[in-house]
């Protein structure tokens, strides 16, 4: 089955071509949605078959099939397919969420008219290149698709390009992630310099690790992680993601919550065989993850835009995964355990389902009442039963309430971080940040839910439940959010499954039985600490936002007020970037512009002026022109002769 895996990205790409090129009348229903759904469905089926093969122990990591594109001397650029457990995990996420989002779009984008064609073309292209990214078998191919998902993200954020805020958000996302991309590229150039190949198969071998000096390995891995900082919106490059909410909500769900932003996490997980040779980089990864998790969670506390709450919560959860991967690397090196790695990737999958669900629910609400502002909502639960119920499931999952999926994976991540604390006490601090984040997550998610669905309406609106085409994907995702945590206990267990993808790095780790895993979770006092905090968070949100007449003005007075304003202004980070961009970069670009305008343009215009005017001048002299051409040829010959006969021999 695995040899057909290269077809997975092909189906959505064909759909993209059909939607983009077919005449309008053959696009049928919803301007091409049929092709988009068909393309993603085919990929979904094929992905599932591939995943089934992987579950049966097949992988494709040696002698990967390749399509050689160009070869120059000793360098070649090849496109290959690499399938292991990590790839399978990403295939599950991208294919399921991708298909559901495309189906949901059939209802959500109904009023877009002409723009729908562009939308379906771009979203199928995105799904195609995202598949291309996860099945890449070398860093260069991965980088190419990495850039392409960035391009699709740019196009889709700017979908309503006539809106200035959308256009500038698109630009911002593109430019900020570009900073990370350049680091990523620099990282792989370093690797190429020392190893002479970018194939995973070669790079991940022991001999390659020896070929790279230790300090260069640290630099290269840190730079590659830089790519993840950009793409997965980690501090300090996280500010583009909330702005990216300017795109349609479906795009936020698919690209900016479930798939593309996971590419950074995937990159770190993929690079484990390199990272374990650079513990310094792992620590850096963990610290960035921990800081991002808590920082983003605080901003989410005060956000009033429903999509912004979800955006900051996405950043915070991505921070969790990155933190888990950093700690997991320590566990691989020092404890010979895949715990952290498995926990972070587990959280990646669970988060994809419940966050896509939350976004699509938010989309359903926005679709119904036409605003993003939670202060204008309230009481929607009665009118939108399915949406409110499914969103409640999503909120419980992300808050870490058992038996919903988030509980299992979040708990595993925190346990891994605590465990890593045995080897570097910084991890205890990071664990503390993680647990505080868990509390805040429960609080702001339920703040959002109560403000939206509970209480009385705070403005005039005519809400209605969304059509079936939107609610069915919600229900499927809600089902997944409830159950995806249990894969921890199915078959070999999730841990055992993921463990096999980094087997080479572990030296015969003992296989934990599923009973042990369950026992570990429920006997660990830390589990109850985080659970209690989550419940307290929910109760607190209920107290503040659901008690009639609760005086919330105390939050806007004195120190609290300052804090609240700081949070509302996203800790002024965004403002700092804007000021920096305006004062420093703009200043520099003004200088560059002057140079460009007077020196380069002067040259270009001068030449063009000369050329254009000579042409016009000559054309006016009807008789003269051919003679002029001929005499120019003669002048040319004379100059060439002088050059060849006198100047060059004299010089050489």
């Amino acid at each position: 089955m695995l040899e057909y895996a290269w077809l997975i990205p092909v189906f959505p790409f064909v759909a993209f071509l059909l939607i983009a090129l077919l005449p309008k009348r053959t696009l049928w229903w919803e301007s091409g949605a049929v092709y988009a759904i068909a393309g993603t469905l085919c990929s979904l089926v094929l992905s599932m078959l591939v995943v089934w093969s992987v579950l049966n122990g097949e992988t494709l990591t040696t002698d990967t099939p390749k399509f050689k594109w160009l070869e120059v001397g000793d360098f070649s650029l090849e496109f290959g397919v690499w399938i292991d457990q990590l790839t399978a995990l990403m295939l599950v996420v991208v294919s399921i969420v991708g298909t559901l989002v495309v189906v949901y779009s059939g209802g959500y984008m109904r009023e877009e008219g002409e723009g729908r064609r562009r939308y379906y073309a771009e979203i199928t292209l995105f799904i195609s290149v995202m598949f291309g990214l996860v099945i890449s078998d070398n860093y260069l191919q991965m980088f190419i698709f990495w850039e392409l998902v960035g391009l699709c993200s740019y196009l889709l954020i700017g979908f309503w390009y006539e809106k200035p805020s959308a256009a500038s958000a698109a630009k911002r996302a593109f430019i900020v992630t570009r900073v990370g991309d350049i680091m990523f590229m620099a990282g792989i150039i370093i690797l190429f310099k020392y190893v002479g190949s970018l194939d995973f198969e070669t790079l991940f071998s022991e001999s390659a690790a020896v070929a790279v000096p230790t300090d260069m390995m640290i630099l290269a891995t840190a730079l590659i992680f830089g790519g993840a900082i950009g793409k997965s919106a980690q501090f300090p490059l996280h500010e583009w993601l909330p702005d990216a909410m300017e795109g349609p909500t479906t795009v936020s769900a698919l690209i900016h919550a479930a798939t593309m932003v996971k590419a950074g996490v995937y990159l770190v997980a993929r690079s484990y065989p390199l990272l374990i040779h650079a513990p310094e980089s792992l620590l850096f990864v963990a610290v960035i993850g921990g800081v991002t998790a808590i920082l983003a969670a605080t901003v989410a506390l005060a956000a009033n835009d429903i999509k912004r709450v979800l955006a900051y919560s996405t950043i915070s959860q991505l921070g969790y995964m990155i933190l888990g991967l950093g700690a997991g690397g320590y566990l691989v090196i020092y404890a010979n355990s895949p715990g952290g790695y498995a926990a972070a990737t587990f959280h990646l999958m669970n988060h994809a389902f419940f966050k896509a669900l939350l976004f699509l629910c938010a989309g359903s609400v926005i679709h119904a009442i036409g605003t993003n502002d939670m202060r204008l909502m309230g009481g929607l639960g009665k009118k939108m039963k399915i949406t409110s119920l499914t969103m409640l499931i999503g909120a419980l999952a992300i808050s870490g309430i058992p038996p919903f999926s988030g509980f299992w994976s979040k708990d595993e991540v925190l346990a891994a971080v605590w465990h890593a604390g045995e080897f570097d006490s910084v991890f205890f601090l990071l664990w503390l940040m993680g647990i505080v984040t868990a509390f805040m997550t429960a609080f702001y998610m339920f703040r959002m839910w109560f403000m939206t669905f509970a209480g009385e309406p705070r403005s005039e609106y005519h809400a209605h439940e969304s059509p079936r085409i939107m609610t069915v994907p919600l229900m499927i995702l809600a089902g997944l959010a409830m159950t995806s945590g249990f894969v921890l206990f199915i078959g070999d267990g999730f841990k055992g499954f993921m463990e096999s993808s980094i087997e080479g790095l572990l030296h015969g780790a003992e296989h934990e039985s599923l009973v042990d895993i369950a026992a570990e979770i429920f006997t660990d006092p830390l589990t109850y600490v985080s659970l209690t905090l989550a419940v307290v968070g929910i109760m607190l949100a209920r107290k503040i936002y659901l008690t009639p007449g609760f005086d919330r003005s105390m939050f806007s007075r004195g120190f609290n007020g300052k804090l609240q304003r700081a949070l509302e202004n996203r800790w002024y980070i965004s403002k700092f970037y804007d000021d920096f961009a305006v004062k420093v970069v703009y200043g520099l670009s003004l200088i560059a512009d002057k140079f460009d305008r007077y020196v380069i343009d002067g040259l270009v215009n001068g030449f063009a002026f000369l050329g254009g005017n000579t042409g016009n001048f000559i054309r006016r002299l009807q008789d003269g022109n051919v003679q002029r051409y001929a005499s120019l040829i003669l002048v040319g010959i004379c100059l060439l002769l002088i050059l060849v006969l006198y100047i060059l021999p004299w010089g050489g």
């Binding site: 594109w69 051409y629 120019l632 040319g636 060059l648």
Partner: protein, 495 residues
């Protein structure tokens, strides 16, 4: 029977000329001129079929030549492929473009004759065969440029083209006579061998050789439109019927390069160190001037003409680098340029068939009016600018990297500047290519739909398919080009 054996290598030309003589008769007999056009496709497709079987399968190879005038090898095969493919594309587009014109029989006959001349140059092994081929193709193209003789700018273009063409032929002929005087032969490989000996035998012959080199450079430089021998090109491309502009840019120019490679890299290889810097300078001037002037053009045909001038500058890189790899790169670029440039001209021709002009402003809103034309044009222009994964990127990549590889030992290190200049020029060219795309998609223009004739659509579709296929199957195409470049067995491999 002896005569038949002698004629065998000329079969393609004979077939083309035979059909060319039939065309006026067919024109007289049939009222539906499409029959004439289809008849002219017969020899093109037939020879194309033979060449393709030869190049891509092992089932058939052409007969060897019993005389020293021509040599048919993979190098000439690849050039023939280009000429025939461009011929087919041009005929398909013309079917609609000249549908209301008189004398269509002659029009198609001249196209066939021009291609006969070009294929002759492709297989030539003798200076005089090159000259005859150049003249057959040249005289046919003069007439074709002035095909609409009542149209002022068409007639003007033909006159200019003819006068400058005659001048350049004289220069070429003068150079050939000098070469004969020095080497005592007009056979190109014999000339290469005799050159060295004659320098030692009589004094001053080296200077004569250089004089002849410069003259032949000017003569061929006219064909490929090198600066400063390019002045005719924009006027003629603008004035000629658009399919013919495509023929000139995509095929006639490539014929000049076939001649260039044979004469310079086989016949004049011993004096390479005398002319390589001069040609390198000429290459840089040509690409830079071509691109800079293209920036200010508002007529698309003129813009494409100047872009062709610049592309000639890129291809010329292969001469001073002088490795098999560089020749393969040049062949690759000739192949890809033939499709992307003729494709772009055919888009302009397709618009003209629908009574739309050829000014930049006429492209406003084309994305809405004809998505097919707009997306094709976009891809052609992106390919010309060298955006991956399109064909233009692949061939430029090989061509430019050949200069980088050539600059390391044993080649001279200044070759690297050719690559630098070429890359900077490519960046500059993106400006005027992207501007057309901006006009097509961002600017609002007329709303009326454009209906493109079916034959033109076919021609554009062929070019488009090739522009993508040649880029995607980079490796296979490059393999073929490298094998073709083995014709220059005297050159180093180059990487």
């Amino acid at each position: 029977m002896e005569i038949l054996n002698t004629l065998e290598p000329f079969l393609p030309q004979l077939l083309l000329i035979l059909f060319a003589t039939l065309m006026p008769g067919l024109d007289y007999l049939f009222k539906d001129k499409r029959i004439v056009a289809f008849a002219s496709l017969i020899p093109l497709i037939a020879i194309m079929g033979a060449v393709v079987t030869w190049l891509f399968t092992d089932s058939w190879t052409p007969p060897g030549s019993s005389i020293a005038l021509v040599e048919i090898n993979l190098f000439s095969g690849l050039f023939m492929l280009v000429f025939l493919a461009v011929g087919i594309i041009v005929v398909l587009t013309s079917m609609d473009f000249v549908r209301t014109d008189k004398n269509q029989g002659e029009y198609y006959a001249l196209i066939l004759l021009a291609i006969a001349g070009m294929t002759l140059v492709a297989s030539a092994a003798d200076l005089f065969v090159i000259f005859v081929g150049l003249e057959i193709a040249g005289i046919s193209s003069f007439a074709l440029s002035g095909f609409r003789k009542h149209e002022k700018r068409s007639a003007e273009a033909a006159t200019k083209y003819f006068i400058i063409g005659g001048f350049s032929s004289a220069l070429t002929l003068f150079a050939i006579s000098l070469f004969y005087g020095i080497a005592g032969t007009t056979n190109i490989s014999a000339m290469g061998a005799a050159m060295d000996a004659s320098f030692t035998s009589f004094e001053g012959s080296e200077s004569f050789a250089l004089l002849a080199t410069v003259l032949v450079l000017a003569g061929f430089g006219f064909k490929v439109a090198l600066v400063p021998f390019h002045m005719w090109a924009p006027d003629v491309y603008e004035g000629a019927p658009t399919p013919i502009s495509g023929l000139l840019a995509a095929a006639s120019k490539k014929m000049g390069f076939a001649a260039f490679f044979k004469v310079f890299l086989i016949g004049l290889i011993v004096t390479k160190s005398d002319w390589d810097i001069a040609i390198a300078i000429l290459a840089i001037i040509t690409m830079t001037v071509g691109n800079l002037i293209a920036v200010s053009q508002t007529n698309i045909k003129r813009m494409l003409a100047y872009s062709s001038v610049a592309q000639a500058g890129y291809i010329l890189i292969a001469l001073p680098v002088g490795t098999q790899y560089a020749v393969a790169g040049a062949l690759f670029h000739i192949l890809t340029h033939a499709f992307m440039k003729s494709g772009a001209f055919m888009v302009v021709a397709g618009m003209a068939s629908c009574a739309i002009g050829e000014k930049l402003d006429d492209f406003k809103g084309l994305g809405k009016r004809s998505p097919f034309l707009a997306i094709s044009m976009t891809l052609f222009l992106f390919s010309l600018a060298g955006i991956p994964p399109l064909a233009g990127f692949a061939s430029k990549f090989v061509l430019f990297s050949s200069a980088v590889y050539g600059s390391s030992d044993p080649g001279p290190s200044w070759l690297i500047w050719l690559a630098v200049a070429a890359v900077l020029n490519s960046a500059l060219s993106l400006y005027y290519y992207a501007r057309v795309i901006k006009y097509m998609y961002m600017e609002k223009g007329s709303e009326a739909k454009v209906k493109v004739p079916r034959s033109t659509t076919a021609a554009i579709a062929i070019s488009l398919a090739m522009t993508i296929v040649l880029g995607v199957y980079f490796d296979a195409v490059m393999d073929l080009c490298l094998r073709a470049a083995e014709a220059f067995s005297n050159l180093p491999i180059g990487f």
